[in-house]
Each structure stands twice: as structure tokens, then as C-alpha cells.
């Protein structure tokens, strides 16, 4: 007996919906938010968003639909917190500039 469990199912033919796949297609992986926070907003935490996005697609492709949904939820939450962190930094910066200007 193999210790590695059952072999993975063969990949479905192009365009075919694998059996058991929920309707509605793959869950959103928020990859765009991940790219925007990492490459445009200078927030290195965005790489964590890329990890979640990759998890969504990997789990979906492997047939782990519940896992994919869970990763999608985490990706969304993390993107939201990154956006809030970015806003907080911008607000703090503006406050800092205004205070520096009023002291000089």
C-alpha cells in the first residue's frame, strides 16, 4: 500500500467542468489588489496577498473548493487591511507635514 494516498484525479479536458465543482466559477483571488499594494503602494505586506491569491488558484485547481473559498476570504481581508494601513500611513504623513510646517 502506498503511504501517499490516492493519486490526484486526471486534469479535466479544456472547457469541461470537473464533477463536484461548485457553480459560479473560481472565487476571486484579489490578485489585482495584491499587485497594486506590492508594486504601486510600497507596502511589502502585499507579498502576503500574493501568497493568498496563489493558494486560491492552487486549491481550486486541486479540487479543494472549500479551501479555495477560505483562502479567497483571507485574501480579501488582508487586501482590506493593507488598504487601511496605506490610508493610515498617508494620513499620518499629512499630519506630520502640517505639524512640521506650523513649527517652522
Amino acid at each position: 500500500m502506498s503511504d501517499y494516498g490516492a493519486p490526484p484525479p486526471p486534469p479535466p479536458a479544456y472547457g469541461a467542468v470537473p464533477p463536484g465543482q461548485p457553480a459560479g466559477g473560481p472565487p476571486p483571488n484579489n490578485l489585482v489588489w495584491a499587485i497594486l499594494t506590492t508594486l504601486f503602494c510600497c507596502l511589502p505586506l502585499g507579498v502576503v496577498s500574493i501568497v493568498f491569491a496563489a493558494q486560491v488558484n492552487s486549491k481550486w485547481a486541486a479540487g479543494d473548493y472549500a479551501g479555495a473559498q477560505d483562502s479567497a476570504r483571507k485574501a480579501r481581508q488582508f487586501a482590506m487591511w493593507s488598504a487601511i494601513a496605506g490610508l493610515v500611513i498617508v494620513v499620518l504623513y499629512i499630519v506630520f507635514i502640517v505639524l512640521a510646517a506650523s513649527n517652522s
Binding site: 459560479g24 466559477g25 473560481p26 476571486p28 483571488n29 490578485l31 489585482v32 499587485i35 497594486l36 506590492t38 508594486l39 504601486f40 503602494c41 510600497c42 507596502l43 511589502p44 502585499g46 507579498v47 500574493i50 501568497v51 491569491a53 496563489a54 493558494q55 486560491v56 488558484n57 492552487s58 486549491k59 481550486w60 485547481a61 486541486a62 500611513i89 498617508v90 504623513y93
Partner: protein
């Protein structure tokens, strides 16, 4: 002068406008940001905040140089943009393509039926982390912002 063809199939239902509101708003927001960054030069100190990661650690992050890259792109200077942040420049066509697919889904009302293979996004992660490390190393100054 407003020119409307007689009998042209102008059947823009309010429903369609509602569906296009999010992609349209995103395009408008992106155009506004690019216009602002193009007009207000990030090469001059004091216009924008320093990258918080660079400020705290003294190291470049994968996003460092992106404001100057967008500024250069807004002025059509692709080589300058590439020298500031090549990944930012390379991500622009990807973001535009994803926007087009999203807009098409909104128009047709169809759900996303296809997901990129996981390895493609893990590959992107590897590229971003390699870029992050390399641009801080001597000998890879061409990757630094």
C-alpha cells in the same frame, strides 16, 4: 455638434450603465492618479511620502520607484520608467488585461470560469521576492530605483 445616426441601435439600458459603473469608475480613478503623478513630479523631494519600508529599514522594497516610473510612463519615457521600477512597468499590461476581462464579465454578466494555474501566481511571488532581494545587492544597481 451632436451627430446621432437615425435608426442606430442605441440600446444602452440603465442596467448596462450600472454594470459598467465599477470598471468605468476604476478607469477614471486610474486616469486621475496617473494624471496627478504625471503633473506633480515625484523626482522632487517633498511631493510624496517616502516609502515606509525604505524609511524604516533603509532598504528598497519591490514598490520603490513606482511613483517615478508612473511619472515617466505618463510622459511616454519607457526606458526611464524601466530603470525606476521594471516590475511596475511590466505589471501595467497585466493590470490592463485583467481590467478588460473584468469589464467584459460585467457586460456579459458571465462569471469567471477560468483560473490561472497556481504555479503562475507562485512564480509571480518568486519573481517579486527575487526582485526585492536583488535590487538591494551591489552589482544589481540597474534594478534599484
Amino acid at each position: 455638434m451632436l451627430h446621432i445616426q437615425v435608426g442606430s441601435p442605441v440600446r444602452l439600458l440603465p442596467d448596462r450603465w450600472t454594470r459598467l459603473a465599477a470598471p468605468g469608475g476604476t478607469a477614471l480613478l486610474a486616469a486621475t492618479v496617473v494624471g496627478y503623478v504625471g503633473a506633480v513630479d515625484p523626482n522632487q523631494a517633498g511631493h510624496y511620502p517616502t516609502c515606509p519600508f525604505l524609511f524604516v529599514t533603509g532598504l528598497y522594497c519591490p514598490g520603490c520607484g513606482s511613483l517615478r516610473a508612473v511619472h515617466a510612463l505618463a510622459h511616454g519615457d519607457v526606458p526611464e520608467a524601466l530603470s525606476r521600477n521594471p516590475l511596475t512597468v511590466l505589471s501595467v499590461p497585466l493590470l490592463v488585461a485583467l481590467w478588460v476581462l473584468w469589464t467584459r464579465r460585467r457586460l456579459t454578466g458571465r462569471r469567471r470560469s477560468w483560473a490561472a494555474p497556481g504555479w503562475a501566481i507562485w512564480g509571480l511571488l518568486a519573481v517579486v521576492i527575487a526582485f526585492w532581494i536583488l535590487r538591494n545587492l551591489p552589482g544589481f544597481a540597474f534594478l534599484a530605483p
